[in-house]
């Protein structure tokens, strides 16, 4: 019997027991839907993170005054990460390291911002305009106005979402905004950078302005972070190691009690990979379990089908069908259940991914996942139907015909 006839035969048989067939298919749908949805969510999360990392820059190193490796390894509450202070001195020393293309010190704080009669609290950063612009590079796109220049004084550049939705009346280039009571002029507004990109909520001002606003609330030479762009073609990790040792000697610390961290794209992505792969594993396990349940459902249905269709199997033998072919016929039927479940599961999964996107969860469905889901469910179906089909093929023709 050729494949088309077998599939046709299977579908006819399934139709004649449609309720049970559908229930079995639903069992597979659940597993495949879960799989498609969960893989889609994890993929979406990864994409999101990747776009953020792109904003961060693969050649970028940021030094922050806190040992984040301790946070990561000891969990949140018990261990307070040892935090120190970064100073102007650190900045000057790191500046001398090799392979650096550009470097800026950053001074961040939370400020009260008032536009018209409305005031909000935002975190703003003081930067060295030329260096900062060079480090952030192409992801820093101006929508209107211009970026900061070294000669700027009391000037602001606003991220897209601050400008767009920070105030009820949208500030524009040339608007006056009062920051901690001091009058600043908006010189530029950034283009929308991406869904969760930190640049969108940035408020940037010249370093010296930030320093004077913060005044005594920080140490005399204190800075919040140092951002470095490694030269194109240089090894970021090697440069980071070099900077790390400069910092350790500058702070008179060692690996164990250090009070700062070097954050690189590689470091972030390895941290995130750890989280997402754990998430994938967890979600995958759930999807896997429901698929196993679906497969057991197929086996169960096939065992019942074989029992019910003993006479039919006897007849097939009587009209000359060989055992191997009978086996294939039933495996095809189990495969059809699998494919039906896989296809419907894929459609439902795609639908739910659409809903997730509407709700603001970035989820994605890749074509290879879609094809994989259907192929996989066909394989699961056929595997689940293997033993029942064997049983059908081995059935004694006489017994099978006698059965009434």
């Amino acid at each position: 019997m050729n494949t088309a006839d077998m599939l046709n035969y299977s579908i006819k048989s399934m139709r004649s027991r449609s309720l049970r067939s559908w229930l079995t298919i639903v069992g597979v749908v659940v597993g495949i839907t879960a799989m498609v949805l969960l893989v889609g969510l994890v993929q979406g999360l990864k994409n999101d993170v990747e776009s953020q990392l792109k904003g961060f820059g693969t050649n970028t190193i940021v030094i922050i005054p806190m040992d984040v490796s301790k946070v990561a390894s000891y969990g949140s509450t018990q261990m307070v990460p040892s935090s120190g202070k970064l100073t102007e001195l650190d900045y000057q020393r790191v500046k001398k390291a090799g392979s650096i293309d550009a470097i800026t010190k950053i001074l961040s704080g939370r400020f009260n911002m008032q536009f018209k009669n409305e005031s909000i609290t935002v975190s703003a950063s003081g930067i060295e305009p030329e260096n900062y612009g060079r480090i952030i590079g192409s992801s820093l796109e101006i929508d209107t106005g211009r970026f900061l220049v070294p000669s700027d004084h009391h000037a602001l550049v606003l991220g897209y979402s601050i400008a767009d939705s920070g105030f009820t009346k949208k500030p524009e280039v040339g608007s006056d905004i009062y920051v901690s009571g001091e009058k600043f002029k908006v010189v530029g507004i950034l283009k929308k950078a991406g869904s969760a990109n930190s640049l969108d909520s940035a408020v940037l001002m010249p370093f010296d302005d930030a320093k004077s606003l913060l005044g005594d609330s920080i140490g005399p030479n204190e800075i919040s972070a140092i951002r470095i762009l490694v030269k194109e073609g240089e090894n970021v990790n090697e440069t980071a190691d070099q900077i790390e040792s400069i910092m350790l000697s500058s702070h008179r610390k060692n690996e164990d009690n250090k009070d700062f961290s070097l954050v690189t794209a590689g470091y972030i992505s390895s941290q995130i990979d750890q989280t997402t792969s754990l998430l994938s594993l967890f979600l995958g396990a759930i999807a896997g379990i429901s698929l196993v349940v679906g497969a057991i459902g197929i086996s169960n249905t096939m065992f019942m089908t074989v029992l019910e269709r003993r006479q039919e199997i006897g007849l097939l033998k009587a009209i000359g069908m060989e055992e191997g072919e009978i086996e294939r016929l039933f495996i095809a039927e189990a495969g059809v259940i699998g494919i039906a479940g896989g296809t419907l599961g894929l459609l439902l999964g795609a639908l739910l991914i659409g809903v997730a996107n509407l709700l603001g969860f970035p989820a994605q469905i890749l074509p290879q996942i879609a094809i994989g889901a259907v192929v996989f469910s066909a394989i699961v179906g056929m595997a689940a139907g293997f033993i029942p089909s064997r049983q059908a093929a081995r059935l004694d023709a006489i017994e099978a015909l006698r059965y009434e």
Binding site: I319, G320, L401
Partner: protein
């Protein structure tokens, strides 16, 4: 099935049947001839010469030892091309078992079954399946139609197994069904057909591969007498066309259409007569 409730079938130890086999095998020639001279009437000359099916000393035992049942014992006979033979016996006498052995659905415990000269006991299961598909058409008491297939598809099924193109098999199946006055029921499901109609479909299915032998096990058993007669008429017609048919029944009245009768009791050949 009702085999076990027969009054006459006392289980016999398996050993006995086996022991008698050699004797029966030796008298094979005699048994073969007796078939043609059973009631003194000779077979019309030149009509049935080609041997198409031969049982040689066939026994079928179920179980073993004391509880073993010999369903068929030392069965020896020959069927020739074009014969319409009835196998007659009371319930439980082993008729169905015999039919299954002849149709290669079952394997004899001892002895040999020859189909068109081939010793079927020495070939593989797959070869047996192929031989069965090509040479033998079955008609069962319970029709055994596939409930999810239409009449036409049921008849096509044997050709489907052999990958005959759809067009061709559809044409062939339609022609056979039309011949059996079923042309107006081609696309009906078995559940939408009467018993007689179902059996016609089953007969059409048995015919579609143009088999050498048609084996019918109580084909009228589930039908009322009128429809039974109709089915019998079809069998007679097929015989007139020169088909080889073996009709298994416990119904003495069916014997009238056949030209040869093999009477069995307790799995043993009691008497075979030529009725022509």
């Amino acid at each position: 099935m009702t085999g076990a409730k027969s009054a006459s079938s006392k289980p016999q130890p398996a050993g006995k049947a086996a022991a008698m086999c050699t004797q029966a095998a030796n008298s094979h020639e005699a048994a073969g001839t007796s078939l043609h001279t059973g009631n003194g009437k000779p077979v019309p000359p030149g009509m049935h010469e080609r041997e198409i099916l031969r049982l040689e000393c066939v026994s079928k035992l179920y179980g073993s030892g004391e509880s073993g049942v010999a369903a068929i014992r030392d069965m020896d006979f020959t069927i020739h091309n074009g014969e319409l033979t009835s196998v007659l016996g009371p319930s439980g006498s082993g008729k169905s078992t015999l039919l299954h052995l002849m149709g290669l659905l079952d394997k004899p415990t001892t002895g040999k079954v020859y189909i068109a000269g081939t010793d079927t006991t020495s070939i593989s299961d797959a070869d047996q399946a192929r031989l069965r598909g090509k040479m033998i058409g079955f008609v069962f008491q319970a029709f055994n139609l596939i409930s999810s297939f239409t009449a036409l598809e049921n008849v096509e099924l044997p050709l489907m197994i052999y990958d005959v193109p759809k067009e061709e098999r559809r044409k062939k199946a339609t022609a056979i069904l039309e011949r059996l006055q079923m042309g107006h029921r081609l696309n009906h499901l078995p559940s939408q057909l009467s018993g007689g109609e179902r059996q016609r479909v089953a007969i059409a299915r048995a015919l579609i591969n143009d088999p050498e032998i048609i084996l019918a096990d109580e084909p009228t058993g589930n039908l009322d007498s009128k429809t039974g007669e109709e089915v019998l008429k079809i069998i007679e017609d097929l015989h007139q066309e020169g088909r080889t048919i073996i009709l298994v029944t416990h119904d003495e009245s069916l014997v009238k259409v056949t030209e040869k009768v093999v009477r069995i009791r307790d799995g043993r050949l009691v008497k075979s007569e030529v009725l022509v």
